[in-house]
């Protein structure tokens, strides 16, 4: 039973990464209608950004949490301005192919210079060590990841669903022409939204750098799972993707305990089941 609690908690930790990443994807899909396959590569760039900051300029983890999402976010905005912009109004497939191609290029470039084994990134001193919870030894850093990502997720949800800016944003996706008529710069808003989604991916990258190796391919596997999360939660649904992210982390954790061989596939089995029963996802509205 003790081991079970531990697995639940570990699942929650993984779930926080799923939630952060799927949230970014959901924001981008919801607002821009782009299926952002480059998300995993941008997540990886966030981790590398933290690594460079530390090893080239000696800037530590806490600043990296702020700087890396901004830097990678700006990179994302450049991508949006120079490439993705031209695909507005076209079929989803074009955006998917373009971002997939970008992901391969970005990963390839990093791999060319950094190989595939990965680079070490130490846990910041303030978050070292752990506490014994009785049923397991919880590394403080992992606890921090859960709390921090939960706060970021809820803040993003609040920003989009509850503030005036978010209302503009949602309105702009419904009817860009009308919103423009009110004097709002819609293209700029879209660029910023893409930057926000990308920034969230980079933030997840920084968070995961001390846990996983900083590797060029670190985003390759996780992105597939995260897509399944988004599909299960309902494409474009903000709250749906947050809840599903955490929930799937837990389910995966339980699978690792009861039947570890299936832990890589359980998410996809669930995805198939959900699609059979509710094709629009758990919280999605049918188009």
């Amino acid at each position: 039973m003790q081991a079970l609690y531990a697995q639940l908690l570990v699942g929650l930790i993984n779930g926080s990464f799923y939630a952060l990443l799927s949230l970014g994807l959901a924001v981008i899909f919801g607002m821009l209608n782009i299926i952002n396959f480059a998300h995993g590569a941008l997540y990886m760039m966030g981790a590398f950004c933290a690594y460079f900051l530390l090893n080239i300029w000696g800037i530590g983890y806490w600043w990296a949490l702020i700087i890396a999402p901004i830097v990678v976010g700006i990179f994302g905005m450049v991508l949006e301005r120079t490439m993705l912009k031209w695909l507005a109004g076209l079929d989803h497939l074009y955006g998917l192919l373009l971002t997939f191609g970008l992901a391969l290029i970005i990963q390839g470039v990093f791999q060319n210079y950094f190989g595939s084994s990965g680079l070490p990134y130490a846990i910041p001193d303030e978050l070292r060590g752990g506490t014994n919870l009785g049923f397991m030894f919880l590394p403080i850093y992992r606890g921090w990841v859960v709390v921090f990502s939960l706060i970021v997720c809820l803040a993003t949800w609040y920003l989009i669903e509850r503030t005036r800016l978010g209302a503009y944003l949602r309105a702009a996706t419904e009817n860009p022409t009308l919103v423009r008529a009110f004097g709002i710069n819609v293209p700029r808003m879209i660029t910023l939204t893409y930057g926000l989604g990308v920034g969230l991916a980079a933030l997840a990258g920084v968070l995961s750098a001390p846990i996983n190796q900083v590797r060029p391919l670190m985003g390759e596997n996780i992105i597939i799972v995260v897509f399944a999360v988004v599909v299960i939660g309902g494409m474009g649904s903000i709250m749906g993707s947050i809840i599903t992210g955490f929930a799937l982390g837990v389910i995966e954790g339980l699978t690792k305990y009861f039947y570890p061989e299936a832990s890589n596939t359980v998410v996809f089995v669930l995805m198939v089941l959900v699609l059979l029963v509710k094709p629009a996802g758990l919280t999605g509205r049918a188009a």
């Binding site: 081991a3 590394p139 690792k256």
Partner: protein, 407 residues
């Protein structure tokens, strides 16, 4: 001028005609296929570095100066047996490849080994670990260089059990290599009086091992055996430190660790780990000279792993056999038989021999990762703990289940 040109043209034609005449008798062309994981979790231990090692073997052998024409091509099997088999089939059918080297990932290596036998090519494996390649899956066309799961089990497994680590729990990569390594290590542990309490199978290329490690922690075994490789091993070790497993008194046994893994972990995390290898760059003048040259030429400036060193060393021996045969007969079994006749000797692995089941034997070494304070600089990572004699490091012939031996 014109006359001269005509003359040289005539001479050239005559020469090429005579060369064609000789070709049927003693062909001096070789095509090497370097098959590896070029971009995934095993790319740094084999991958592009193995192709470079093959290139260096060709250059150092001096074969080109002796009139040989040697080409190298490389392929990416992506750790998938079906892709590996397709590449090798094309290599033999279309590209006329003679010899396949490297091939990390035991699943791919076993599949490819059968195909190479069917095509009567040569398979010089240094990347894959499964000891099945020289046991029940052995072929007259395969030579297994460098190491296998038996070596790892009898190096690290026996040493740790004898020094008090008598209860084990395995975190095993869920494919051929992990299964073979767990099986061989279990045997070694039990033979030394230890007990295996349990194990868990983790999918290949897992990012997060915490669930598996927590199960290992709950087992209360003294040693947690990591029967995995590459990024899987480094992730496990890192996360075990994070979850206080090592601080709690349990010891980790990275059953297969390469120098690139130690480099990725950093000595701070890796210090004190015991592991078995058959090659380390800083062993003697020969290994240092080769490794420095290798490091200058490889893109990420890594030191060579034992797998890459094995590609170099096995090809040198292969070339020696071809020279002894006086040409390339394009008959894999014949070349392999010649290779088995000749004792091996090269600057990287020293003197050794190839057993009838295809196993190359030479000493293996039990290393310990240095403390950061003991390291004199980048890549100064290993401390030699013990040398395992060639006879102890590999399956004794009378225990080998290779069908070739039952003639």
């Amino acid at each position: 001028m014109k006359k001269k040109m005509f003359a040289s043209l005539l001479l050239g034609t005559a020469l090429s005609l005579s060369a064609a005449g000789i070709a049927s008798a003693q062909d001096k062309t070789v095509k090497i296929g370097s098959l590896s994981d070029q971009s995934g979790l095993y790319a740094d231990l084999g991958g592009p570095g193995s192709t470079l090692a093959a290139q260096m073997a060709v250059e150092d052998s001096g074969m080109v100066a002796k009139g040989w024409k040697i080409d190298i091509i490389s392929g990416d099997h992506q750790n998938k047996p079906d892709i590996g088999v397709n590449i090798v089939r094309q290599w033999f059918d279309v590209d006329k490849v003679d010899v396949v080297v490297d091939v990390p990932n035991s699943g791919v290596a076993l599949a490819v080994s059968n195909l190479i036998k069917e095509k009567n090519g040569v398979f010089l494996n240094s990347g894959a670990g499964t000891s099945d390649l020289t046991n029940k899956q052995c072929t007259p066309n395969t030579i297994h260089w460098v190491y296998d799961t038996y070596t790892l089990a009898h190096g690290t497994g026996t040493a740790l059990t004898k020094s008090g680590g008598d209860t084990w729990f395995f975190v095993t990569a869920d494919y051929a290599f992990g299964a073979a390594l767990e099986r061989d290590t279990t045997a070694a542990v039990q033979a030394s009086g230890g007990k295996v309490l349990g194990g868990v199978k983790a999918p290949l290329s897992t990012a997060d091992f915490s669930s598996f490690l927590l199960q290992a922690q709950a087992s209360k075994a003294k040693i947690i055996g990591l029967a995995n490789a590459g990024a899987d091993t480094t992730n496990s070790i890192k996360q075990a430190a994070e979850f206080g497993i090592t601080a709690g008194g349990q010891k980790l046994a990275g059953l297969l660790l390469f120098i690139t893994d130690i480099h990725a972990l950093g000595l701070k995390t890796a210090q004190g780990l015991n592991f078995t290898e058959t090659f380390y760059w800083d062993m003697n003048d020969g290994t240092r000279a080769f490794s420095k040259r290798f490091q200058e030429r490889i893109k990420n400036h890594n030191m060579p792993t034992m797998v890459q060193a094995g590609v170099y060393s096995s090809l040198l021996h292969y070339f020696k056999a071809l020279e002894a045969l006086g040409g390339n007969p394009h008959d894999g079994a014949k070349v392999v038989a010649k290779m088995k006749e000749m004792p091996t000797d090269d600057p990287l692995f020293g003197k050794g021999s190839i057993e009838p089941n295809g196993r190359t034997i030479h000493p293996a070494y039990l290393f310990e990762a240095k403390k950061p304070s003991e390291s004199k600089g980048p890549w100064d990572y290993y401390k030699l703990v013990a040398t395992i004699s060639a006879d102890d490091a590999f399956t004794p012939l009378d225990k080998s289940t290779c069908p070739l031996l039952k003639k």
